[in-house]
């Protein structure tokens, strides 16, 4: 048996890293288990000329395609949106776009405001200092003064808009609709040992420059210097419980495939909205027959993805469209509920630049825009470097039929049952997506784009994995309490996107990390009475 630790964190991604760093203050013995490896920045696709090709291989966003030894399979056949993630130190922050909006204050009160779903047990004001602390740690670039938000500042200036961003800005001005330079975690100046973005545009499959914040280069160096231990290639099979009903530790497979038992005083789950319910369901026992911490029956239920509607077109001049980070501005004109529309809540538009040349060729050939024959090159010249586009991140409401269960057959390389996802887009969200596509057509027209194409929902768009172990004050209607502790197991905490009550209409990483810091702070405030 290994030495007992005070705090065991499962997962080193967005939330696990933030909590590890925050809890290091306590001088407790903290251990993080990560199923993936440390990443080598020099291996990233952006360091080679085949960076686009590798997005179909070892840097595919979908784990089922990427299929690294460190990935686990996910049965998402019963979902129109496929799950994407990354497993390694830094988790999915290795392969996100770094788009970093916060949730709105209204997102925490949707039952009171709109009569749907449930209110959160925390609010924006409570999280505000943790948002700010997280912005400082991750290194956020942005422009103060966005009227869509309460006042906030970013430690670095915003990304340049570029030709496509400026074009969208002018179009939105003509339409009279809100837009603002995005908050991103892409460094625009030297920051905490990171070099600034040089606009190569290869952001999503990991950033060689280190301009894009991933927790392996932001939180982890600080946490490890403060004494936290991070063990890689350790895949947790189950959380064990003692006779007292408390978590006693975890059983995991180490780098050599050997089974280990790691005892711990406190266990913290940070495995995302699919990994966390999978692990709780795999930890069923005689005392917890429906899975650990699942007396409410809500573990795995209410999965929310944010269906994406993507709309793009082509303009009549080169716009450096595959240059620079993919996202540089947003609009929240249609974010808040408007009773004149046929849906509640709303969405964020994120304005994209174009795609790489190979991606342009492949997608245009598939869409019939790029014919073979004598005119092939001339046709390609009218497409390459001329694409502009935008997507709507549509709020998904929590619905019982959208869920994560254990697949009866599929297992990972260690024989651990794999998750199965069942998901359909709800009616409210479908109306919202239709609205966003209509508005996007107007925006693209105002921006001078033609040859408009729509992809809705984006197939490989299951980035945001939320809601499958929701937080709340009522143990019958939630899995964790208002500060992340499981109602059923008083030394078990959940800090990832699973605990979200609703999804908002924004990329979730900023809010996930602010929540993780808030929960870590709640643990620190209550150390003497943590299990009461």
């Amino acid at each position: 048996m290994l030495d007992k630790v005070d705090v065991l964190i499962i997962g080193s991604g967005a939330s696990g890293a933030a909590a590890a760093w925050s809890l290091a203050d306590t001088k407790m013995r903290i251990l993080c288990l990560e199923q993936g490896d440390w990443m080598q920045q020099s291996d990233y696709p952006s360091n080679g000329r085949d960076w686009e090709a590798r997005q179909f291989g070892d840097y595919a966003t979908r784990p089922n395609i990427r299929a690294r030894p460190t990935d686990y399979p996910i049965n998402d056949d019963a979902s129109p949106i496929k799950v994407v993630n990354f497993n390694g130190v830094g988790g999915s922050t290795i392969m996100y776009t770094g788009h970093y909006p916060r949730m709105h204050p209204s997102d925490f009160k949707v039952r009171s405001l709109d009569g749907v779903a449930a209110d959160w047990p925390v609010d924006y004001a409570t999280l505000e200092p943790f948002f700010a602390e997280n912005d400082r740690m991750m290194g956020v670039s942005g422009l103060a003064g966005d009227p869509a938000y309460p006042p906030k500042t970013a430690p670095m200036p915003p990304l340049p808009l570029g030709k496509s961003g400026a074009r969208f800005g002018r179009a939105m001005n003509d339409l009279g609709w809100h837009w603002w330079p995005s908050d991103t975690t892409l460094a625009t100046t030297e920051y905490d040992g990171r070099a600034p973005c040089i606009n190569l545009g290869h952001c999503t499959p990991a950033c060689t420059q280190g301009a894009k914040a991933s927790t392996d280069i932001t939180y982890w160096p600080h946490a490890i210097r403060a004494g936290v231990e991070l063990r890689t290639r350790c895949r947790v099979r189950e959380i064990t419980t003692g006779a007292d009903g408390m978590a006693s530790g975890v059983i995991y497979y180490d780098a050599d495939g050997k089974e280990q038992f790691q005892p711990a005083e406190i266990v913290i789950l940070a495995c995302n909205g699919i990994g966390t319910p999978r692990l709780l369901l795999n930890s069923a026992s005689a005392r917890f027959p429906n899975g650990l911490a699942n007396s409410s029956g809500l573990v795995g239920k209410n999965l929310m993805f944010h269906p994406y509607a993507q709309i793009y077109g082509y303009v009549d001049e080169p716009v450096d469209s595959n240059r620079a980070p993919p996202l540089c501005l947003w609009s929240q004109e249609f974010y808040e509920t408007d009773p004149n529309r046929d849906f509640v809540r709303g969405y964020t538009f994120q304005f994209g630049r174009g795609v790489g040349l190979v991606t342009e060729a492949v997608s245009s050939a598939a869409a019939g825009r790029l014919p073979w024959g004598a005119d092939h090159h001339a046709a390609f010249r009218q497409l390459a470097n001329r694409r502009i586009g935008l997507s709507a991140i549509c709020e998904d409401l929590p619905e019982d039929h959208n869920r994560v269960t254990l697949d009866p057959v599929l297992k990972d390389s260690h024989g651990i049952p794999a998750p199965k996802v069942e998901y359909t887009i709800g009616a409210n969200t479908q109306r919202m997506m239709a609205h966003s596509i209509a508005r996007a057509h107007e925006i693209l027209a105002a921006a001078g784009a033609r040859n408009i194409a729509v992809e809705s929902p984006i197939l490989n768009g299951g980035w945001h994995l939320l809601g499958t172990a929701r937080m709340g004050r009522d143990p019958a209607a939630s899995v964790v309490n208002e500060w992340g502790r499981c109602h059923d197991v008083k030394n078990l905490f959940i800090i990832d996107g699973s605990i979200w009550v609703t999804s908002g209409g924004v990329n979730p990483t900023s809010t996930i990390q602010a929540l993780a810091l808030y929960i870590a702070d709640a643990i620190k405030q209550r150390l003497a009475t943590l299990f009461d």
């Binding site: 020099s42 000329r49 040089i198």
Partner: protein
């Protein structure tokens, strides 16, 4: 009892002062060993530092560098300070044989006595001894007698000592001391003559640091030539380059990467400033047309009309990082527009970098982000020639065209599977 402990305390403090002094001396010696980049030649990749064993080709045959750790049997453990000095500044080993001038003793000759002593202290007391026998050289027997080296020395090696130039300030003279001496920059950057001697060892001669081809790399002109040299570089640019391997004009490649990793990134700001002050004082070897940016190439590439030979290949293989403008993203990705390596009359380095890529630039142990990938598998000789010719004639660059034969020759000589020994390990 009190007295005794007092004595002990005083003694201890005296001892620690002495130890600190010894530590200062070896620290200074270590710094000088860095400045001289001894480790670059006296080690093999993956081997013990300073244990030698690196094979080097010379015009007369292959020699191997020697073990300079203080091991008494196989290293220099039995060297006295005088023995060490004779080897370092005059090229004569302890047993009296002459060293081959691949050892840059003609440059080290300018070193000051107390620097030689500090270097000696470092090697004898701070470098761990390694028992590793020296490899034999394979110089053919009719060329192996060492006595002609004495003649060579008489003809070409400067006499020891450094004479400050009163026409310049102390900073310039410090720079001269480092560049001409320990830094032995001329070993690569000064052209060599008929007997493989460096044509010059000092600032007074226009051949000094005028650029030279060594085994398929063209070591740049470091003088004020405005196109092919450092004529447009400020002192701050030179300092940044030596510190990190990058600046807004260019990035290091080839064996300069190792110089930065092992040597110049560890130099103090004062010493780097001295080197820069010295280099910017070296006049151009010839009048050159200064480089001026011409936007025509970028306009053509941006509008998708890449009809010049090589333009399309450039768009497909190079443009993602070096951009239509050829301006790239310095200091992280070097520009091609106005880069002295691209403008160099000798295209060897440019061809070599396209074929074989670059190694990571490591500054004080920290690697940089981007590598130039190798293209030898993807591009034919003709394609490389077209791309390189395109770069040399675009964005205001004006350098002669390159032929497929030139590429073929370098491709053959840099074949990674060859066991051919490369002079000064410049591959």
């Amino acid at each position: 009892m009190i007295r005794l402990s007092l004595v002990a305390t005083v003694l201890a403090s005296l001892l620690s002062v002495a130890a600190a002094r010894a530590e200062d001396a070896t620290a200074r010696g270590e710094y000088l060993a860095r400045a001289g980049d001894c480790v670059a030649c006296h080690s093999v990749p993956g081997g013990k530092a300073f244990a030698g064993g690196l094979k080097m080709a010379t015009p007369v045959g292959t020699i191997a560098t020697t073990n300079i750790t203080p091991d008494p049997e196989t290293g220099i453990g039995r060297y006295t300070l005088d023995d060490f000095d004779r080897a370092l500044r005059r090229g004569v080993a302890r047993d009296g044989h002459h060293l081959y001038p691949a050892m840059p003793y003609p440059s080290y000759a300018v070193m000051a006595d107390d620097d030689v002593r500090a270097l000696y202290d470092y090697f004898m007391h701070a470098v761990p001894p390694v028992r590793q026998a020296n490899l034999p050289s394979d110089i053919p027997s009719h060329l192996s007698p060492r006595w002609p080296l004495a003649v060579w020395n008489a003809l070409f090696a400067p006499s020891p000592g450094f004479t400050p130039n009163p026409g310049h300030d102390a900073r310039w003279n410090r720079g001269a001391y480092l560049v001409e001496g320990l830094g032995h920059c001329g070993a690569c950057h000064t052209p060599r003559g008929w007997a493989w001697q460096e044509k010059s060892f000092g600032a007074g001669d226009p051949a000094f640091l005028a650029g030279a081809n060594l085994d398929d790399w063209s070591a740049s002109n470091l003088r004020r030539n405005v196109a092919t040299g450092l004529g447009t570089w400020s002192e701050a640019d030179i300092i940044a380059f030596l510190k990190t391997g990058h600046n807004t004009h260019a990035s290091a490649y080839g064996s300069m990467s190792e110089v930065i990793a092992n040597s110049t990134s560890y130099l103090t700001d004062d010493d780097l400033a001295a080197i820069a002050a010295y280099l910017v004082s070296l006049p151009a070897t010839q009048a050159e047309t200064p480089w001026r940016y011409d936007p025509a190439t970028a306009t053509a590439l941006q509008s998708g009309h890449a009809d010049a030979p090589g333009a399309r290949l450039y768009a497909g293989s190079c443009q993602a990082c070096h951009r239509e403008t050829g301006a790239a993203a310095p200091p992280y990705v070097p520009p091609l527009a106005g880069n002295p390596t691209v403008l160099d009359a000798d295209p060897a380095s440019l061809i070599n970098v396209v074929l074989n890529g670059t190694a990571p630039l490591v500054a004080k142990g920290r690697p940089d982000a981007y590598r130039m990938p190798q293209f030898r598998a993807q591009l034919t000789n003709r394609q490389v020639a077209e791309i390189v010719t395109f770069m040399r004639a675009s964005w205001g660059n004006q350098a002669p065209a390159v032929t497929a034969d030139e590429v073929a020759a370098i491709r053959k000589r840099t074949e990674p599977s060859t066991d051919r020994i490369v002079p000064l390990r410049m591959r």
